[in-house]
């Protein structure tokens, strides 16, 4: 019998590919081996070794680590000075996340529902471009914008909003001598830095909402506002939550922005940085590092409870 197709050229490589096609579990294993080794051993392994240190304590006089399990180090997190750091950091992260969601949603919504192909390309470019420049350059750029004699103050003055800005800065907590050394400034800079991480997942979620669902809601008598609250927002929520995971955790861990923009009060990232560096208190640094993980776990649990992932 004559072969219908030219006989393939036999060889070791062909035997190997035949084997992988037949036994695709083997293929999956080969594909996943490098990332599993990296993520499982190098990354997660060292993370847990580090976090494990939080049950040790430090000898105050010798400055050495006492390798005897204790809850004293974890309890130290609740000392007023340390607890302040946690509350401050979580509040800033929450404010940044909220602001990112409020600013990002309309942009993501426009790109997902109304933009044509060209406008969509321009949108992606505009959202991604800030990520291409150095993080430090952007922060110092913002420092200049926020300074007392900076562009934001000048524009506010020109628009006659000078007194409003003064009044805002005079407020306790959010205010300060100038925007560049206030929590307001810090939140603004964080919002700027992490906005792309909020917009992109929201955009992806909104793009997956078929137009017919929005039409159906209107058809059944829902006003646009009602449609937004009952259909669009619940369906976009997984995207918002995904974006919030980014903005929230990135803010929780950052220690550079607070150093350049913030006040003298520490945030969590700075605390970890100084504790493991100059202070050499690895156990307390590890205890602090547990907090973002627990906060994110709590956040995801709450998000799941509110049905954010029901549409997935």
């Amino acid at each position: 019998m004559r072969a219908l197709v030219a006989a393939p050229h036999e060889g070791t490589l062909r035997h190997l590919s035949d084997l992988l096609v037949r036994r695709h579990n083997l293929l999956v294993l080969i594909l996943l081996m490098p990332p599993l080794l990296w993520l499982g051993m190098v990354y997660l392994g060292s993370l847990f070794v580090f976090l494990g240190q939080s049950i040790f304590s430090i000898d105050e006089f010798a400055g050495t680590i006492v390798r005897k399990p204790t809850l004293a180090t974890l309890a130290e997190l609740f000392h007023p000075a340390n607890f302040d750091i946690l509350i401050r950091t979580v509040s800033i992260a929450a404010a940044v996340t909220l602001l990112c969601a409020i600013i990002g949603f309309p942009m993501a919504y426009y790109a997902a529902r109304y933009a044509g192909p060209r406008a969509k390309a321009a949108f992606y470019l505009a959202v991604m471009m800030p990520l291409w420049s150095s993080y430090l350059v952007k922060i110092y750029g913002w420092k200049l914008l926020l300074a007392k004699e900076g562009a934001i103050g000048w524009i506010a003055g020109r628009l006659g909003l000078g007194p409003a800005l003064e009044a805002w800065l005079a407020l306790p907590l959010v205010g300060g001598p100038s925007l560049s050394v206030s929590y307001t400034g810090m939140v603004l800079v964080f919002t700027y830095l992490w906005l792309p991480f909020m917009i992109l997942p929201m955009h992806a979620a909104l793009e997956r909402v078929p137009n017919s669902l929005i039409e159906a809601a209107g058809d059944l008598g829902a006003s646009p506002g009602r449609t937004f609250r009952t259909i669009i927002l619940p369906l976009a929520l997984p995207g918002v939550v995904a974006g919030a995971i980014f903005t929230f955790s990135l803010t929780l861990g950052d220690y550079i922005v607070p150093q350049i923009i913030g006040t003298s009060a520490l945030v969590l990232g700075q605390a970890v940085y100084t504790l493991q560096g100059t202070a050499g208190n690895i156990p307390l640094a590890a205890a602090f590092s547990l907090v973002p993980i627990l906060v994110m776990a709590l956040f995801l649990t709450l998000a799941k409870k509110t049905g954010a992932f029901d549409a997935l």
Partner: protein, 348 residues
């Protein structure tokens, strides 16, 4: 049901007057006049891109006309958004809300109208019972089959008691058996509710079997409106003759040669009879000797394509059992009654 009422006299459920809708250079709807009667099952039939779906979306309010007027029960609706119109739509993809249970999907229209939880749950249960989905309230749309989703979409649209129900190719995604079942059910539902159904389809069989009247669309215009028998038996143009069923289209001269008036005419394949050798021609029929070009078996009928010595090609559909000794290349005698030819307004 009400097809015998003069459309000009009754208050139309939906009336289009010179409606135009363009998308850029594309004339999706290009001057459509129509009236749909209260309680009528009205089918909009046409190939894709013929403007039928855009017409449905104009009634629903998802599109606004560029010119012309649209009335729903005598009320002008141009500029009125979908949520202020007393019409509801069953979408082609059903458009069920994936994050809501089946019960909440059905009750959605009541929820936005401010009906309380207990009352809307009760009505949703009734609506689901009406479409034979009792006890499915707590399921998710993703857990349902295509046919069940279709029923949920129907219940959701009907629960708010629309004056007109719009159906956009609702049976397109179902398999044949289920489609036939749903056709009967939809027709029955429409009859009990006494509601106007406007049904968009590209399936001529569906349109003919369900509708009280059919509007045939082509290139943004309605080419013929009428009861199914009329549209099928007396197609006005070559397009209608070809799209609604199949037909032989004859020129004026060919029609005259078969003893009919000298007008472009259509001739349905099933109106051509096969004659056994030696039989005498029935009265009023012209007998044609022809050569068989092609034969295809289609279950109940056999389609025979034959060419006369004069070059006229005709397709005949004969009961499959009757066509015994028929084979390609062989001779055949066809009988055509001249009154089976339907004169058309144009050959186009």
């Amino acid at each position: 049901m009400h097809a015998n009422i003069d459309p000009a006299l009754a208050i139309a459920a939906v009336r289009f007057a010179g409606v135009v809708r363009h998308f850029g250079a594309v004339k999706a709807v290009d001057g459509v006049d129509l009236s749909i009667l209260p309680g009528e099952f009205f089918a909009m039939l046409g190939p894709s891109g013929s403007g039928k779906t855009t017409c449905l979306r104009l009634i629903a309010g998802f599109e606004q006309p560029d010119a012309g007027h649209i009335e729903i029960f005598g009320e002008k609706v141009e500029g009125l958004p979908p949520y202020r119109r007393a019409v509801n739509t069953v979408f082609q993809d059903y458009a069920l809300f994936p994050h809501l249970s089946v019960g909440d999907n059905v009750a959605y229209g009541l929820r936005v109208r401010g009906v309380g939880r207990a009352e809307r749950d009760k009505q949703a249960r009734e609506a689901l019972a009406m479409v034979k989905l009792t006890g499915m309230e707590s399921r998710r749309p993703a857990q349902l089959s295509g046919g069940q989703r279709q029923r949920v979409a129907l219940a959701r649209a009907l629960i708010v008691r629309p004056k007109v129900l719009l159906l956009d190719e609702p049976l397109g995604a179902l398999d044949l058996k289920l489609r036939e079942e749903m056709q009967l059910e939809l027709k029955g539902l429409q009859r009990t509710l006494g509601l106007s159904f406007v049904f968009v389809t590209h399936d001529q069989g569906e349109a003919l079997s369900m509708a009280d009247r059919v509007a045939v669309f082509n290139e943004g215009r309605i080419v013929q409106v009428g009861p199914p028998e009329e549209v099928y038996e007396r197609p006005r143009t070559r397009f209608v003759a070809g799209f609604v069923g199949s037909a032989n289209v004859l020129s004026a001269a060919e029609a005259q040669a078969l003893g009919a008036p000298a007008r472009p005419s259509s001739l349905r394949p099933e109106k051509i009879a096969l004659m056994s050798a030696g039989a005498s021609a029935p009265t009023g029929a012209v007998v044609l000797d022809a050569a068989i070009v092609d034969v295809s078996y289609q279950g109940p009928v056999r389609r025979i394509t034959a060419r006369t010595p004069g070059g006229l090609v005709l397709v005949a559909a004969v009961p499959a059992g009757q066509a015994g000794a028929i084979e390609r290349g062989g001779p055949v005698r066809l009988a055509v009654r001249s009154d089976a030819l339907q004169p058309m307004e144009s050959e186009e």
